[in-house]
């Protein structure tokens, strides 16, 4: 992903999806963040839920674009750098755990309690790991 616009879109998506994801926890109101003018929406759970879903769609589209580009240009996954693989793996984990949570949120879908609990913790844990890795590797290339 050397394309500047792609990087910008990816960064913006990652920021908004993380923000709206953390807003699923009732912390922004408690800690006065939602009291800051213009940030009141962070305490509106249905709004942040919708934003999270829209950003997830963008992230999935970006993922589809990046993977297809790697494949059709003949580079393949072998062209990914070490940190590119780590970040890609974490994103894949987030997409799978997030996808399962989207499935759970559909009407008529019943998951066992333990699987709901594991999904929530896995999604949160992967998000924290991705944030840490993204911070450490900011500016480093995904592929050779």
């Amino acid at each position: 992903m050397k394309n500047g616009i792609m990087n910008l879109l990816y960064g913006l998506t990652l920021f908004l999806i993380t923000l709206s994801g953390f807003a699923q926890m009732p912390v922004f109101k408690r800690y006065y963040i939602a009291d800051i003018p213009g940030l009141g929406w962070l305490a509106q759970f249905y709004t942040t839920h919708t934003i999270h879903y829209i950003m997830a769609s963008f992230l999935l589209a970006t993922g589809g674009y990046a993977v297809t580009r790697l494949l059709i240009t003949g580079k393949g996954f072998g062209a990914l750098t070490f940190w590119g693989r780590i970040r890609g793996g974490l994103l894949l984990g987030l997409m799978i755990s997030g996808g399962l949570m989207v499935l759970r949120n559909l009407p008529g879908i019943y998951f066992s309690h333990i699987s709901i609990y594991v999904m929530n913790l896995a999604h949160l844990g992967l998000c924290m790991a991705l944030l840490a890795v993204s911070g450490l590797t900011m500016g480093k290339a995904w592929s050779r």
């Binding site: 919708t50 674009y65 580009r69 499935l103 949120n105």
Partner: protein, 324 residues
């Protein structure tokens, strides 16, 4: 939190995960449907039909509920941790356990009084109120901690061992049903001053009795047979037939995308003057709060393919330019 992962639970989880993966890869979800069938256990959700015209407001259901569920009521530790920031409210109902005219952590069902003018005459009605047990319950689906669950028989409940008392379930509930008790639960063992604030409580439709094939305590105790419970497919037909017979009106059938509690009233619900407020739910029309998410889920399915098409388009354009 001493639950064991049973073989059945493992099968459910595995099939569901495999189903989702298959859905993402192929764009269809045959395994997801299979997983759903397994997870749902082919059980038709149980629906309660509440005929308001029969209710005499005797509160037998209220006391039966308390007796049946008293073992689940909170036993808070005092003094409560000092909350940070100070705006976090302490909600303590332990000294007011006998309050019965609203929903509280110790009162999961109450009798709501309503009045209406029918044919020029003032009519008083009494309505048993508790959790509606939505078809797609926001309290369960949006709990960030996974503390709430919905069972395949349609009941939703909050696990007091896992709940942190953040009260999000109450905020997203169209009827503000769950009620918080401070000073109890898991938050005391994590960051008692900084995160969480107790446990949320609400009707769990006597899941322990239902699991044994028994009837919830409120239904069992009612001397007037105000409530009946049965499989959704039958109960909806029964509710509609009953409403037709008495020229009555239904509430709960479509509210929030449909609930597993259907009220039948001889008076239109929009003409009922209810005592509403904290712990006293309204009976207004409610749009499906989860509908936006459900619609966006479809967009998510096509998103990776849209990205792939964009990449192909760009590659094709580049190749064309290179050739010329």
């Amino acid at each position: 939190m001493s639950r064991k992962l049973s073989r059945r639970a493992f099968l459910k989880g595995s099939l569901t995960a495999a189903g989702t993966a298959a859905g993402v890869v192929t764009g269809t979800a045959p395994l997801a449907r299979a997983a759903n069938a397994v997870t749902a256990g082919a059980v038709d959700p149980l629906v309660t039909v509440i005929d308001i015209s029969k209710c005499i407001g005797c509160e037998e259901c209220v006391y039966a509920c308390r007796e049946s569920n008293s073992g689940k009521f909170p036993a808070p530790k005092k003094p409560f941790p000092r909350m940070f920031p100070a705006r976090v409210p302490v909600q303590d109902w332990s000294g007011r356990q006998d309050v019965s005219d609203r929903l509280t952590p110790y009162n999961w069902l109450y009798i709501q009084h309503a009045s209406a003018r029918v044919g020029g005459e003032e009519t008083e009605l009494t309505i048993p109120r508790r959790c509606m047990h939505c078809n797609n319950p926001p309290c369960v689906k949006l709990c960030p901690w996974g503390a709430a669950k919905q069972e395949s028989n349609g009941l939703s409940r909050i696990d007091a061992d896992i709940c942190l008392g953040g009260s999000k379930c109450k905020t997203v509930c169209p009827w503000d049903v769950p009620q918080r008790q401070t000073g109890v639960g898991l938050y005391l063992d994590i960051l008692p001053s900084l995160a969480g604030n107790g446990v949320m409580y609400k009707c769990d439709r006597c899941y322990q009795k239902v699991a044994k094939g028994e009837t919830p305590a409120c239904i069992e105790a009612c001397p007037e047979d105000v409530q009946t419970m049965g499989p959704r497919s039958q109960m909806i037909d029964q509710a509609k037939a009953l409403a037709k017979e008495m020229n009555g009106y239904l509430y709960g059938l479509d509210e929030n995308g449909g609930t597993n509690t259907i009220y039948i009233s001889p008076v239109p619900f929009d003409q009922l003057v209810l005592e509403t407020g904290k712990g006293k739910p309204h009976m207004n029309p409610v749009a499906d709060h989860m509908a936006t998410g459900t619609n966006l889920a479809r967009a998510m399915l096509i998103a990776p393919f849209a990205g792939a098409v964009a990449a192909f388009g760009k590659f094709y354009k580049q190749a064309k330019e290179d050739r010329s």
